[in-house]
Amino acid sequence: MTQITVKHLWKEFGNQVVLENVNLHVGDHEFVTIVGASGCGKTTFLKMLLGIESPSRGTFLIDGEPLPSEPGPDRGIVFQRYSLFPHLTVIKNLLLGLELRDARAVGRLFGMARRRALDKAHELLDAIGLGGAADKYPAQLSGGMQQRLSIAQSVICEPKILLLDEPFGALDPGITADMHALILKLWNMNKMTIFMVTHDLQESFALGTRLLVFDKTRVDPQAPEAFGATITFNIPLKGHRSG
């Protein structure tokens, strides 16, 4: 059960107000899609969830606990690019999460433990349709395959929350349908909470159980930095929850 509570949240960089008075409650196993114009604090909000930015004022609680101040294994992330490890083959990219979790001292598994982890990684690899590319390096994959692998890499350790920062923004429109099916499958399999920032309004309606629109309610033309954005629409959607 993952509950996320945000109350009177403000984020400022010096004089610049990015987010003002954000209030939100997200329950367990939700798929939250976030849209908004550029510079409206969507990514800043995601970075706070990730733990690489901290709120200036207000409360931001995950399961009643304040946000951790650094990234951790309970919150996975998929960026638009660069989140695979170029020196590891596809299967080793997947294996890495399990190795880091189970081999704290050397970061590598051996023997039986390694075989068990490999089985799990291969199973997931087949599920995302990359079974044939296990021994390739990320640079040898297409953009869509790289993103699929990146998503699988993030969910293999079953995080409570998965953050997606425009994960399909750099892909061909033709393959996004496949990606949507994949992300919904993994979401229902792992029962996690997803936050996804996107530019694609259609996508945000199609995937989410809740749509958040970030926008500025007040604008001072003399001082554009004086007011920040907030959640102007918080729309519950039907979504694709199964089971």
């Binding site: 990730l50 960026f79 690019r81 660069y82 989140s83 020196h87 999460g97 640079a139 993030s154």
Partner: protein
């Protein structure tokens, strides 16, 4: 007629053209050597190829009367040993310190400016200090190479480490990596090919420091021999020695390049 920028030589022509400057310089040498020797058969500045060959035969395949060594091979072995030791120690220092600076912000602010200052000291200017402090032995020569090369490798690897996309570092943390795990599973493996690049770029200066140290205080070594026979204008030794050093250097560079592409196929060539 296509533009010059679009005209490319074929494979055979490319090989022939790349050999051209080498052939040209040999021809120029042979011409002037011959002209000078016709003028004065005792000329030492541009010895005939036959003179060079017989001298080198003497150095490489006949025992030296005084020491009983084959001078050419003794010199080569002594120099290569110093060079390899210096480069190896520099690589270890460069990798460990550079990586630590690149990964740990506290270490970065503490010692990065110091390393930057250190790397600006002209190593040859402190050669006398080295000779006074550690004596005239092997240690001084190897230390000079390390002082000259290590700070540059440290700085290079610190920069390369900092250049890793922040997405990767964050991703590893969301997979639960500790600092130590991050270093050994994500950062270090990606720095090996960078280390090889840095070593390749350092080869030239490493030879420079080696020969400088050997020229001043040594009893064998390629640099020592060159500076020893300089007194007798023995160009028949100096010229082949220089060519040999160049060949050794070229071979090392080539070996490092091959090692990089074989061992790290995922790393794009520099």
């Amino acid at each position: 007629m296509r533009r010059l920028i679009n005209q490319r030589p074929g494979r055979g022509a490319a090989v022939a053209l790349s050999m051209l400057p080498f052939i040209l310089i040999v021809c120029v040498y042979l011409y002037y050597s011959h002209a000078r020797l016709v003028d004065n058969p005792g000329d030492k500045l541009l010895p005939a190829p036959s003179t060079i060959a017989s001298t080198m035969h003497e150095y490489a395949f006949e025992e030296d009367e005084r020491t009983g060594d084959y001078l050419f091979w003794t010199d080569t072995w002594a120099s290569l040993k110093r060079l390899a030791t210096g480069l190896l120690v520099s690589a270890v220092i460069g990798l460990s310190v550079g990586l630590a600076i690149g990964v740990l912000p506290y270490l970065r602010v503490t010692i990065a400016p110091f390393v930057a200052a250190l790397s600006l000291i002209p190593p040859l200017a402190i050669l006398p200090i080295l000779f006074i402090a550690v004596g005239l032995g092997e240690l001084a020569k190897v230390t000079l190479i390390i002082i000259g090369v290590a700070p540059l490798i440290v700085r290079d690897l610190a920069m390369r480490t900092a250049e890793l996309p922040s997405e990767q570092i964050i991703k590893a943390q969301t997979l639960g990596a500790s600092t130590w795990q991050l270093v050994i599973r994500v950062v270090l493996p990606q720095m090996w090919p960078r280390l090889i690049d840095a070593l390749r770029l350092s080869l030239g200066s490493a030879w420079l420091f080696l020969i400088a140290a050997e020229a001043i205080a040594s009893t064998e070594g390629l640099g020592y021999r060159i500076f020893l026979v300089r007194r007798y204008l023995a160009m028949d030794v100096i010229l082949p020695y220089v060519a040999w050093i160049t060949l050794l250097s070229f071979t090392m560079d080539w070996l490092l390049r091959v090692l990089r592409s074989k061992a790290f196929p995922w790393a794009a060539p520099q």
